[in-house]
Amino acid sequence: MINVTKKWLFLKISSVILIPLMLWFIINLVSIYDKNYLEVVLFFTTQPSKFLFSFLVIFAFFYSALNISEIFEDYLHNEKIKNVANKILFLSAIVIPILTIIMLLFLKV
Protein backbone atom coordinates (compact mmCIF):
# COMPACT_ATOMS: atom_id res chain seq x y z
CA MET A 1 0.00 0.00 0.00
CA ILE A 2 1.44 3.39 -0.99
CA ASN A 3 1.82 6.19 1.58
CA VAL A 4 -0.96 8.40 0.14
CA THR A 5 -3.44 5.49 0.39
CA LYS A 6 -2.36 4.82 3.98
CA LYS A 7 -2.83 8.52 4.82
CA TRP A 8 -6.33 8.49 3.27
CA LEU A 9 -7.24 5.29 5.19
CA PHE A 10 -5.99 6.76 8.51
CA LEU A 11 -8.03 9.93 7.80
CA LYS A 12 -11.19 7.91 7.19
CA ILE A 13 -10.73 5.58 10.20
CA SER A 14 -10.06 8.51 12.54
CA SER A 15 -13.05 10.46 11.19
CA VAL A 16 -15.38 7.45 11.83
CA ILE A 17 -14.06 7.25 15.42
CA LEU A 18 -14.27 11.03 15.90
CA ILE A 19 -17.92 11.51 14.82
CA PRO A 20 -19.54 9.91 17.95
CA LEU A 21 -16.80 11.28 20.23
CA MET A 22 -17.37 14.87 19.03
CA LEU A 23 -21.12 14.52 19.47
CA TRP A 24 -20.67 13.12 23.00
CA PHE A 25 -18.30 15.94 23.90
CA ILE A 26 -20.35 18.91 22.67
CA ILE A 27 -23.44 17.68 24.57
CA ASN A 28 -21.36 17.36 27.77
CA LEU A 29 -19.49 20.63 27.16
CA VAL A 30 -22.78 22.57 27.27
CA SER A 31 -23.74 20.95 30.56
CA ILE A 32 -20.38 21.48 32.34
CA TYR A 33 -18.74 24.68 31.01
CA ASP A 34 -20.49 26.90 33.59
CA LYS A 35 -20.14 24.49 36.55
CA ASN A 36 -17.82 25.01 39.52
CA TYR A 37 -14.30 23.57 39.86
CA LEU A 38 -15.27 20.41 41.76
CA GLU A 39 -18.09 19.46 39.38
CA VAL A 40 -15.85 19.86 36.31
CA VAL A 41 -12.98 17.93 37.95
CA LEU A 42 -15.45 15.19 38.89
CA PHE A 43 -16.59 14.99 35.25
CA PHE A 44 -13.05 14.62 33.89
CA THR A 45 -11.81 12.21 36.58
CA THR A 46 -14.63 9.68 36.40
CA GLN A 47 -15.23 7.03 33.74
CA PRO A 48 -16.28 6.94 30.95
CA SER A 49 -15.57 10.70 30.56
CA LYS A 50 -11.84 10.34 31.32
CA PHE A 51 -11.41 7.56 28.76
CA LEU A 52 -13.63 9.15 26.08
CA PHE A 53 -12.05 12.61 26.43
CA SER A 54 -8.52 11.14 26.18
CA PHE A 55 -9.55 9.31 23.00
CA LEU A 56 -11.16 12.46 21.61
CA VAL A 57 -7.96 14.48 22.13
CA ILE A 58 -5.73 11.78 20.59
CA PHE A 59 -7.91 11.24 17.51
CA ALA A 60 -8.76 14.92 17.03
CA PHE A 61 -5.08 15.87 16.87
CA PHE A 62 -4.23 12.85 14.71
CA TYR A 63 -7.05 13.62 12.25
CA SER A 64 -6.32 17.35 12.19
CA ALA A 65 -2.60 16.87 11.64
CA LEU A 66 -3.32 14.70 8.58
CA ASN A 67 -6.02 17.09 7.37
CA ILE A 68 -3.95 20.27 7.79
CA SER A 69 -0.90 18.66 6.17
CA GLU A 70 -3.15 18.20 3.09
CA ILE A 71 -3.87 21.96 3.17
CA PHE A 72 -0.10 22.65 3.39
CA GLU A 73 0.36 20.34 0.41
CA ASP A 74 -2.21 22.34 -1.60
CA TYR A 75 -1.24 25.89 -0.66
CA LEU A 76 2.43 25.94 0.41
CA HIS A 77 4.65 25.69 -2.64
CA ASN A 78 7.98 26.36 -0.94
CA GLU A 79 9.34 22.93 0.13
CA LYS A 80 11.38 24.33 3.05
CA ILE A 81 8.41 26.23 4.54
CA LYS A 82 6.17 23.20 3.98
CA ASN A 83 8.61 20.89 5.81
CA VAL A 84 8.94 23.27 8.78
CA ALA A 85 5.16 23.77 8.95
CA ASN A 86 4.59 19.99 8.86
CA LYS A 87 7.19 19.39 11.59
CA ILE A 88 5.60 22.02 13.88
CA LEU A 89 2.15 20.56 13.14
CA PHE A 90 3.11 16.94 13.91
CA LEU A 91 5.09 17.95 17.01
CA SER A 92 2.06 19.85 18.39
CA ALA A 93 -0.20 16.91 17.53
CA ILE A 94 2.00 14.68 19.73
CA VAL A 95 2.92 17.07 22.58
CA ILE A 96 -0.50 18.68 23.32
CA PRO A 97 -2.46 15.38 23.67
CA ILE A 98 0.30 13.76 25.78
CA LEU A 99 0.49 16.76 28.15
CA THR A 100 -3.32 16.94 28.41
CA ILE A 101 -3.64 13.22 29.20
CA ILE A 102 -0.81 13.39 31.81
CA MET A 103 -2.59 16.34 33.51
CA LEU A 104 -5.86 14.40 33.35
CA LEU A 105 -4.23 11.34 34.96
CA PHE A 106 -2.89 13.41 37.88
CA LEU A 107 -6.14 15.31 38.36
CA LYS A 108 -7.76 14.49 41.72
CA VAL A 109 -11.05 15.60 43.32
Binding site: K12, I26, L29, Y37, F53, S64, I71, S92, L104
Partner: protein, 127 residues
Amino acid sequence: MENKNPISPHIQVYEWHISSLVSISHRITGVINILFITLICFWVGSLFFGETVYELVQKILLSSFGKFLIISIIWSFSFQILSEIRHLFWDMGYGFDLKVSKITGLIVILGSFLITILVYLLGKHII
Protein backbone atom coordinates in the same frame (compact mmCIF):
# COMPACT_ATOMS: atom_id res chain seq x y z
CA MET B 1 2.66 43.12 -22.40
CA GLU B 2 1.15 42.56 -18.96
CA ASN B 3 -0.60 39.23 -18.48
CA LYS B 4 -3.96 39.91 -16.88
CA ASN B 5 -5.13 36.32 -16.72
CA PRO B 6 -6.06 35.17 -13.21
CA ILE B 7 -3.67 32.77 -11.50
CA SER B 8 -5.37 29.44 -10.95
CA PRO B 9 -6.75 28.41 -8.49
CA HIS B 10 -8.25 31.76 -7.52
CA ILE B 11 -11.28 31.48 -5.30
CA GLN B 12 -12.88 34.81 -6.31
CA VAL B 13 -13.17 33.97 -10.03
CA TYR B 14 -15.56 31.08 -9.38
CA GLU B 15 -19.29 31.42 -9.02
CA TRP B 16 -20.34 30.22 -5.55
CA HIS B 17 -22.31 26.98 -5.31
CA ILE B 18 -23.52 25.04 -2.29
CA SER B 19 -20.88 22.36 -2.92
CA SER B 20 -18.01 24.85 -3.05
CA LEU B 21 -19.34 26.66 0.03
CA VAL B 22 -19.54 23.38 2.02
CA SER B 23 -16.14 22.27 0.71
CA ILE B 24 -14.28 25.45 1.74
CA SER B 25 -16.20 25.58 5.05
CA HIS B 26 -15.18 21.96 5.73
CA ARG B 27 -11.52 22.94 5.42
CA ILE B 28 -11.93 26.14 7.47
CA THR B 29 -13.84 24.39 10.29
CA GLY B 30 -11.20 21.61 10.21
CA VAL B 31 -8.51 24.17 11.04
CA ILE B 32 -10.72 26.07 13.52
CA ASN B 33 -11.64 22.81 15.32
CA ILE B 34 -8.02 22.04 16.12
CA LEU B 35 -7.69 25.53 17.63
CA PHE B 36 -10.86 24.86 19.66
CA ILE B 37 -9.54 21.46 20.81
CA THR B 38 -6.28 23.17 21.86
CA LEU B 39 -8.30 25.73 23.88
CA ILE B 40 -10.25 22.86 25.48
CA CYS B 41 -6.91 21.21 26.41
CA PHE B 42 -5.83 24.50 28.07
CA TRP B 43 -9.17 24.55 29.92
CA VAL B 44 -8.53 21.00 31.22
CA GLY B 45 -4.97 22.11 32.02
CA SER B 46 -6.37 24.97 34.15
CA LEU B 47 -8.10 22.32 36.31
CA PHE B 48 -4.71 20.69 36.94
CA PHE B 49 -3.24 24.01 38.16
CA GLY B 50 -5.95 24.42 40.79
CA GLU B 51 -9.15 26.27 41.57
CA THR B 52 -7.65 29.80 41.33
CA VAL B 53 -6.42 29.30 37.75
CA TYR B 54 -9.68 27.55 36.80
CA GLU B 55 -11.76 30.45 38.13
CA LEU B 56 -9.79 32.90 35.95
CA VAL B 57 -10.58 30.80 32.86
CA GLN B 58 -14.19 30.37 33.97
CA LYS B 59 -14.64 34.15 34.16
CA ILE B 60 -13.95 34.28 30.42
CA LEU B 61 -16.25 31.31 29.74
CA LEU B 62 -19.13 32.92 31.64
CA SER B 63 -18.82 36.23 29.75
CA SER B 64 -20.75 36.95 26.53
CA PHE B 65 -17.58 36.17 24.57
CA GLY B 66 -17.29 32.84 26.42
CA LYS B 67 -20.85 31.88 25.55
CA PHE B 68 -20.23 32.87 21.92
CA LEU B 69 -17.11 30.67 22.01
CA ILE B 70 -19.05 27.67 23.37
CA ILE B 71 -21.78 28.06 20.71
CA SER B 72 -19.10 28.45 18.01
CA ILE B 73 -17.42 25.21 19.18
CA ILE B 74 -20.77 23.37 19.02
CA TRP B 75 -21.57 24.73 15.54
CA SER B 76 -18.10 24.08 14.17
CA PHE B 77 -18.06 20.50 15.52
CA SER B 78 -21.63 19.89 14.22
CA PHE B 79 -20.68 21.17 10.77
CA GLN B 80 -17.59 18.94 10.70
CA ILE B 81 -19.62 15.89 11.83
CA LEU B 82 -22.26 16.33 9.08
CA SER B 83 -19.73 17.23 6.40
CA GLU B 84 -17.57 14.23 7.31
CA ILE B 85 -20.63 11.91 7.09
CA ARG B 86 -21.26 13.39 3.60
CA HIS B 87 -17.63 12.63 2.65
CA LEU B 88 -17.93 9.07 4.00
CA PHE B 89 -20.99 8.48 1.77
CA TRP B 90 -19.01 9.82 -1.20
CA ASP B 91 -16.18 7.42 -0.31
CA MET B 92 -18.69 4.54 -0.48
CA GLY B 93 -19.78 5.78 -3.93
CA TYR B 94 -23.10 7.43 -3.00
CA GLY B 95 -24.32 11.00 -3.51
CA PHE B 96 -22.31 12.09 -6.55
CA ASP B 97 -25.36 13.12 -8.55
CA LEU B 98 -25.42 16.95 -8.87
CA LYS B 99 -28.95 17.26 -7.46
CA VAL B 100 -28.22 14.89 -4.54
CA SER B 101 -24.94 16.71 -3.87
CA LYS B 102 -26.81 20.06 -3.65
CA ILE B 103 -29.39 18.56 -1.26
CA THR B 104 -26.74 16.96 1.00
CA GLY B 105 -24.80 20.24 0.97
CA LEU B 106 -27.93 22.06 2.16
CA ILE B 107 -28.49 19.38 4.82
CA VAL B 108 -24.94 19.98 6.09
CA ILE B 109 -25.44 23.76 6.32
CA LEU B 110 -28.95 23.80 7.80
CA GLY B 111 -28.38 20.61 9.85
CA SER B 112 -25.32 22.12 11.56
CA PHE B 113 -27.48 24.97 12.90
CA LEU B 114 -30.25 22.56 13.91
CA ILE B 115 -27.78 20.26 15.74
CA THR B 116 -26.28 23.32 17.50
CA ILE B 117 -29.72 24.25 18.88
CA LEU B 118 -30.57 20.62 19.80
CA VAL B 119 -27.20 20.02 21.51
CA TYR B 120 -27.56 23.25 23.51
CA LEU B 121 -31.08 22.33 24.63
CA LEU B 122 -30.00 18.74 25.44
CA GLY B 123 -26.90 19.90 27.32
CA LYS B 124 -28.95 22.36 29.38
CA HIS B 125 -31.57 19.62 30.04
CA ILE B 126 -34.30 21.78 28.49
CA ILE B 127 -35.42 18.81 26.33
